[in-house]
Structures are given as structure tokens and as C-alpha cells.
């Protein structure tokens, strides 16, 4: 397999995952604007969503007033912003197109029809009232693509590069969401209405507000939330679960190609830590610093993989 093919599969999945995450974050912003009593807070919410999406600087560079409409348009439709939903779909599809033969027709079809429909949808003309519908659509299309990949792609090198791309992106996304709100998860945070609302926001942005209830069978508690999103293997968007998936795919690649030991070592060390640490200890030692390091490590892991498998 060409290094370029591996890179395209990695980025294809990474950008589809990102499109979904951006849609989810946008939904959180949209909801908070509808919530009474968040006062002037929802302006801050939009700002923190830009931070979580890793694109506050890019938005500010546009020198536009930070209205909810402008931020929404930036996150969803901006063609110049590489992480807008529209750009994500475009980049994912271009990557897919450049390695068509490495995909199954189901995967190509899922991506290509998403791209076609997005062009037909004219999302500019979707007003706030139909925004949730559009965001649902993005999530459905991402799920369809993921389903096609898992359901049809041979478990050879290509599959693993696709998996690594998707799960590094997801890990990065969950870490950034936690980072934007970690202050309300620190020990001693009271359970005021305001905080309860913030906790709900965190869970919603990873679509975990319902599964939290099923899993813990109790009211939102910051320790539980942190544990759920960081350490629980049962939670498919947790840092631990994502790391486990990356590790598993890297292990398969090492077996298939006798390369990738560096990436695997990084993933293994990270997984070992996440599997052993207790949430109380993690909070006590500093959640902010932990998350910062996690985000840096994720980027390092991506670089190791790109390097070892000749992505350029």
C-alpha cells in the first residue's frame, strides 16, 4: 500500500469524524441559546465552542462580530475554514476519491452521496428553525459512513489506518470538550443550577447525557462525568476507549507490516495509564494539565504514525 493511500484513509475518516463532532458542538451552542437563565452566558458558550473546536483564532481572524449566526455559519458552512462541516465533508471526499480503489463501493457511496446531498441542500437557506434537522443529517451521514466502513472494509492495513484516524480525532475532540469545561468538574464545585446546566452541556456534546443516567443511575456528579468521559471503557467516546481502539489498530499494523512500533508504544503507554489511574487522583493532580498533555500526546501519536508509515 502506498504511503499516500494510508494517509488518505487516515484523513478521510478523521475528517468525517470531525464533521460529526462539529455538528454536535454546534447543537450544544444552539441549545444553550434556547435555555433561559443562562443570561449573557450563551455568548460565552459560543466562544467556548470555538475553543473546543480548536478554531477560535481562525474565527477571530475573520474580524466578524461574534453573533450566534456568524459563528454557526463559520462552523458549518465556511469554505475557507478547513474544519467547517462543509469543508470536512469536502476534504473527506477528496481523500476518498484519490484512493477510490482502497474503499468499498458502500463506503464511497456513503461519502459521495453525502457530498452530493450537501451541495443540493443549500444549507445557507436553512434557517435556525431547521438547524437541528441539518445537524441530525450530518450525524446520520457520519454514522452511515462509519457503518459502511465497519461493515464492508477488509480488515487489512487500510481499515486500521481509517480506524486510527477516526479514533485519534474522537479522542482529541473529547479532550477538548473536557478542557473547555474542566473548571466545573473540579472537586468542591457546588451543584448550583448553573453548574448542573454546564454538566449537562458536557454530556450532550458527546451525546452521553442519556447513557450517563443508564450507567450511573444517579444525578449528574462531576466526578462521575469526568470518570465517564476519561476512564470508562464502556463509553465509546471516552479517552480510554479511543486509546484502546488506536492501540488495537496499531497492534494489527505492527503484525501486518512489522512497522509502527513507535506509535504502538505511545498508545500502549497511554492506555496503561488510563487503565490504572483513579479519577480522584487524576482530579487531585490537575485535570487541566492532564488534558493539555493528552492533546499534545495525541498529536505526537498522529505524527509518529505518519512518520513510520511514510504518509508524505
Amino acid at each position: 500500500m502506498l504511503g499516500r493511500t494510508a494517509a488518505s484513509l487516515f484523513w478521510m475518516s478523521r475528517y468525517m469524524e470531525r464533521a460529526e463532532n462539529i455538528a454536535r458542538l454546534t447543537e450544544v451552542g444552539y441549545r444553550s441559546a434556547l435555555t433561559p437563565n443562562s443570561g449573557g452566558g450563551h455568548r460565552e458558550d459560543w466562544r467556548s465552542i470555538l475553543v473546543a473546536a480548536g478554531c477560535l483564532d481562525a474565527f477571530e481572524a475573520k474580524k466578524r462580530p461574534a453573533t450566534p449566526e456568524a459563528i454557526r455559519a463559520f462552523l458549518l458552512l465556511d469554505r475557507d475554514h478547513p474544519s467547517s462541516v462543509r469543508s470536512c465533508v469536502e476534504i473527506a471526499r477528496n481523500n476518498a476519491r484519490s484512493v477510490r480503489t482502497a474503499l468499498t463501493s458502500e463506503m464511497w457511496e456513503a461519502l459521495n452521496s453525502t457530498w452530493n446531498e450537501l451541495a443540493d441542500l443549500q444549507p445557507e437557506r436553512i434557517g435556525p428553525a431547521r438547524l437541528p434537522e441539518f445537524l441530525d443529517w450530518v450525524r446520520q451521514r457520519s454514522a452511515m459512513f462509519r457503518g459502511a466502513t465497519i461493515g464492508t472494509l477488509l480488515r487489512t492495513e487500510g481499515f486500521h489506518f481509517s480506524q486510527i484516524g477516526a479514533f485519534l480525532e474522537r479522542a482529541d475532540n473529547t479532550a477538548r470538550i473536557l478542557k473547555m469545561k474542566y473548571a466545573v468538574l473540579l472537586p468542591g464545585t457546588g451543584s448550583s443550577d448553573r453548574n448542573a446546566y454546564q454538566w449537562e452541556t458536557i454530556l450532550r456534546s458527546v451525546s452521553a447525557h442519556r447513557s450517563y443516567r443508564h450507567f450511573f443511575q444517579e444525578a449528574y456528579r462531576p466526578n462521575n462525568i469526568a470518570e465517564f468521559l476519561i476512564l470508562r471503557q464502556e463509553m465509546p467516546r471516552s479517552l480510554r476507549y479511543c486509546t484502546d481502539q488506536v492501540q488495537a489498530s496499531l497492534a494489527s499494523l505492527v503484525e501486518l507490516t512489522e512497522r509502527g512500533q513507535m506509535g504502538l508504544a505511545l498508545a500502549g503507554a497511554r492506555y496503561g495509564k488510563l487503565a490504572q489511574v483513579q479519577i480522584d487522583a487524576l482530579l487531585r493532580d490537575g485535570l487541566g494539565a492532564f488534558l493539555d498533555q493528552f492533546i499534545i500526546d495525541t498529536a505526537e501519536m498522529a505524527e509518529a504514525v505518519a512518520d513510520e508509515f511514510h504518509f508524505v
Binding site: 500500500m1 502506498l2 504511503g3 499516500r4 493511500t5 494510508a6 477528496n94 476519491r97 484519490s98 477510490r100 480503489t101 463501493s105 464511497w108 457511496e109 459521495n112 492495513e157 507490516t257 512489522e258 512497522r259 508509515f309 511514510h310
Partner: protein, 482 residues
């Protein structure tokens, strides 16, 4: 019901109709199809047409139209009614094509070696060495098996009483073979009953034969199994789908220039396991772009040093650089001479009569008769830069005449051919549409011609332009076995 009498043969009185004879009865090879057509309904056809579109769209079989950003990926219209050739017609075409490609490959060897044909005074020297498609860098080099043009798409038209003529030889990087294969796939899904009722010669072996052909011309220095790759300019090229399709069907890598590297006297591709040597490169980029060190320095599509490796016999380029000289439209006029010179036989397939504007008398004739002629640029392709006299306005003809006068040797002209017609699906039922034919030829350890080829059809009523870039479509093409 689609009544037989609804179909009137021929778009114009002089056009040969592929299905019906002059008395309105079907030719034998169309007898079964005619019966079948009578049983079809317009709605049924419309439904099948939608199904066909869905099949093609799903497979991603698109082509790009240059200069049309909004529709940068379109489907080539597919016509549901197959074009049928009788076994005897095909045998004749096959013999004629084989003779021609053999002669053209010998011609290429000759002009890049001793140039006997020039010495013999059969072709003026300036037509060869003064031609911009001539590559002096190829002089004295022996490609594996002495084959220059391995992959060829000979454009053939049928006119008048039904004679076949060669319109273009296409010895550089002919495209369209993926449409031939996908059209057959679609037809077998849409109309299995037709295949049960006819003995249609198979074509699906093409990718395997292509692979065998490429393997057969591996460099002599390659002693194990040769590694093959397809070189594409990238996904924005109009034929990108085909490049990916062929690589996939052969089970080889589809590479871009940036995936390749010349190192330690060999060509390598960069894989996830490190570098892997490539022995045969089926390149789908033009000569000018294959190697920025030897040709266009600004090219990012090729590989620095590739041509030197080729000349050193370390890698085989398919087709060889410099084949363009033999399908140049100015040389085209000499192909009958070329065939006779190298084979000692009369050409089986004739050229379309061609006037060379480079020759004074012929140029005058062209300028005096622009309203009846088709004028083409010598190096043009794809239906661009041509004038169809009868369909052009006075203004357009005047404007074109001044272009010819400014640079006569850049143009040739041919009579407007009344291409044969074939029944095609239209909104009112079935109507005659003009068609041509591009059979695909492989030259390696032997010459292999896939039965049939790609039939292109001018879907606009009365139109003679079959190019997909100009609104043409395609049809499945059948050769019936005896």
C-alpha cells in the same frame, strides 16, 4: 409499444444504417434485437434508463469537462440500445487494425533509428524531424520488444455504403476502455434476457490482458515478476476514474508523480513498508510532463530522472515517449503509405480522405470549400479546436480561414462524413443517431484486440460530433460470435 415502423433508418439519406437495410428489413445481426425492441415500452425503457444512471452514478464513473467548474463531474450519457457487429465485420476490422498497428509500431522504430522511410523518399524529412511530436531524445533507443505503442484506441467510422475508415489512430494515451467495460456490466444487469438470446463475444478479460501485455514488456533487467503501476496526473484529470478503474481491475497501485522516486538507478514507489521497485509504468500523462529534468521543467506531475532510467532500460514506460509522432494528424495522411512500405501489403482499412493545409494546392482547396469540410488542428483532440464547416456560421468560417492562413501546417481538413446511424433511445421512442467506434488494441508479446470496443454516439438529433466533451454518449458494442 415501440413500433418497428416508428424507426426510420438513417439520419440522412446517404448515411448507412447499422440496423436496417435499404428495404427496411433488419440486417441479420439485428434480427433478434429488432424483435425484442418491438416488445419494449417507452415507460419500461425510461425506467431502465434511470436504473442505468443509478448504476453509473454509484460506481462513480464520471468524467470532468474542462472549463465547466459547476459540473466538474458528470456522467457520460449511456444509450440502452446496443450496437451490434456481425462476426464477419469484426474479422475484417480485426485484420485491418492489426495490420495498421503493426505498421505504425514499425514506423516508430524506423524513424527513431535509420529513418529508411525518409531515405526512400516516401515521407518528407521535415514532416518527421520538424514535427513537434517527434522526440529526438528517443533516437537510437530500443524499447522492450521494439514496441512503442502498446495501448491503442483506433477510431473507426463507417460511411456511405458501409465502408469502414480509420479516423484517428490514438497512439498516446487513449481513454474510454473503462466505459466499454462498465457499459457491458450495466447491460448485463439491465437486460440479461438479451445476452441469453445472443452469442456476444466477451470483453471482461481486458484488464487481465492489459496486465499480461504490460508484464510482457518488462525491462530485460527485471528477472523476477515485474511490478506494474498506473501513473495518473491526479483526481482532477478528466479520465481519473478510468485510471483508478484500470489499476483496481489489474490489482496494481495507482500512483501520482509524488509517490515515485528515482534512487540508486531504479524507480521506486513510496509504500507504508518503505520503497518498492516499479518495473513497468503505465503512464496516463503526456510526454511533456513525465520528467521535469528532461522535458517541461515546471511539471509537477512526473518524476525527475524517469526518462534517463527508461533510456537505461531500468523501467518500461507505456506507451513509449514519442509515439505522438505516429498519430499526428499531419502524419495521418501518410499512414496508407506507411502500411504499404512496412508490410508490403495494401492497407485493409482506408483513411478518410485528408487534405493537408501544409501543401499549397490542398490548402487552397480547403479554403475554397470550408462549408463542406471538417477542419482539425494537427495536434488537437477531444473535439476541441475544430471547425465543422456545414454547421458553422459564415462569421465562424471566415474567422477560421484566417487562422488557417496564419499557420497552414497546423491544420488538416476532411470531408464531412456521413457517419453511420444506430437506433438510440429518445424521448419519442427510438431514432437514428450517428456513431463511431473505438476498438482497443494491446501490443506486447502479441497483438490483442478486444472484440467490439467503445461506440460513441451523437445523441443530439442530426449531430455528427460524438465526443463526450461535446454532448456525445456511449453504447455497449457487441460482436456476435458465429
Amino acid at each position: 409499444m415501440l413500433k418497428k415502423q416508428a424507426y426510420v433508418a438513417g439520419g440522412s439519406p446517404e448515411a448507412y444504417d447499422e440496423m436496417l437495410q435499404a428495404d427496411g428489413t433488419p440486417r441479420p445481426q439485428y434480427a433478434e434485437l429488432t424483435r425484442w425492441l418491438e416488445g419494449q415500452t417507452r415507460d419500461g425503457f425510461r425506467h431502465k434508463q434511470q436504473e442505468a444512471d443509478a448504476i453509473f452514478r454509484r460506481s462513480g464513473i464520471t468524467f470532468a469537462v474542462y472549463g465547466d467548474a459547476a459540473a466538474s463531474e458528470r456522467l457520460i450519457p449511456f444509450d440502452l440500445i446496443p450496437r451490434i457487429l456481425a462476426a464477419s465485420e469484426w474479422r475484417f476490422l480485426q485484420r485491418g487494425i492489426e495490420q495498421r498497428v503493426r505498421a505504425l509500431n514499425t514506423f516508430l522504430y524506423d524513424i527513431y533509428h535509420r529513418q529508411e522511410i525518409v531515405r526512400a523518399g516516401r515521407i518528407p524529412a521535415e514532416m518527421v524531424t520538424g514535427n513537434s511530436a517527434f522526440l529526438p531524445e528517443m533516437m537510437g533507443f530500443d524499447p522492450p520488444r521494439n514496441v512503442y505503442a502498446h495501448i491503442i484506441g483506433t477510431d473507426i467510422v463507417r460511411t456511405g455504403a458501409g465502408g469502414f475508415f480509420v479516423l484517428e489512430d490514438n497512439l498516446r494515451t487513449p481513454s474510454g476502455v473503462s466505459y466499454m467495460l462498465e457499459n457491458r456490466e450495466a447491460m448485463m444487469r439491465l437486460f440479461p434476457e438479451l445476452f441469453a438470446a445472443h452469442r456476444v463475444a466477451q470483453i471482461e478479460q481486458y484488464p487481465e490482458l492489459l496486465r499480461q501485455t504490460l508484464e510482457s514488456v518488462a525491462p530485460a533487467q527485471c528477472d523476477g515478476d515485474p511490478t506494474i503501476a498506473v501513473l495518473t496526473p491526479g483526481m482532477f484529470n478528466s479520465a481519473y476514474f478510468e485510471h483508478a478503474f484500470l489499476a483496481d481491475q489489474m490489482g496494481v497501485e495507482l500512483v501520482m508523480g509524488s509517490d515515485l522516486i528515482v534512487e540508486d538507478g531504479a524507480l521506486f514507489m513510496r509504500t507504508i513498508r518503505g520503497r518498492e521497485q516499479v518495473h513497468v509504468l503505465y503512464r496516463r500523462i503526456d510526454d511533456d510532463f513525465i520528467d521535469p529534468l528532461n522535458f517541461r521543467a515546471d511539471s509537477l506531475l512526473g518524476v525527475p530522472g524517469l526518462f534517463d532510467l527508461y533510456r537505461a532500460g531500468k523501467v518500461t514506460l507505456v506507451n513509449a515517449p514519442g509515439t505522438g509522432i505516429a498519430d499526428d494528424k499531419a502524419i495521418y495522411a501518410y499512414v496508407p503509405e506507411i502500411v504499404e512500405f512496412y508490410t508490403g501489403e495494401k492497407p485493409i482499412l482506408n483513411n478518410v480522405p485528408t487534405f493537408r493545409c501544409a501543401v499549397d494546392d490542398e490548402c487552397t482547396h480547403v479554403l475554397d470549400n470550408l462549408q463542406d469540410l471538417v477542419v482539425k488542428e494537427v495536434h488537437g483532440s477531444g473535439g476541441y479546436g475544430m471547425l465543422i464547416g456545414p454547421h458553422a456560421s459564415k462569421m465562424q468560417r471566415r474567422e477560421f480561414a484566417s487562422r488557417i492562413q496564419a499557420n497552414p501546417s497546423n491544420y488538416i481538413a476532411q470531408p464531412t462524413l456521413s457517419l453511420s446511424t444506430c437506433p438510440s433511445f429518445e424521448s419519442n421512442g427510438i431514432g437514428p443517431r450517428h456513431v463511431d467506434l473505438r476498438p482497443f488494441v494491446l501490443v506486447g508479446d502479441q497483438i490483442r484486440i478486444t472484440p467490439g470496443g467503445l461506440t460513441r454516439v451523437a445523441l443530439k438529433k442530426g449531430s455528427l460530433v460524438v465526443n463526450s466533451s461535446q454532448g456525445g454518449g456511449t453504447k455497449d458494442t457487441w460482436v456476435l460470435e458465429d
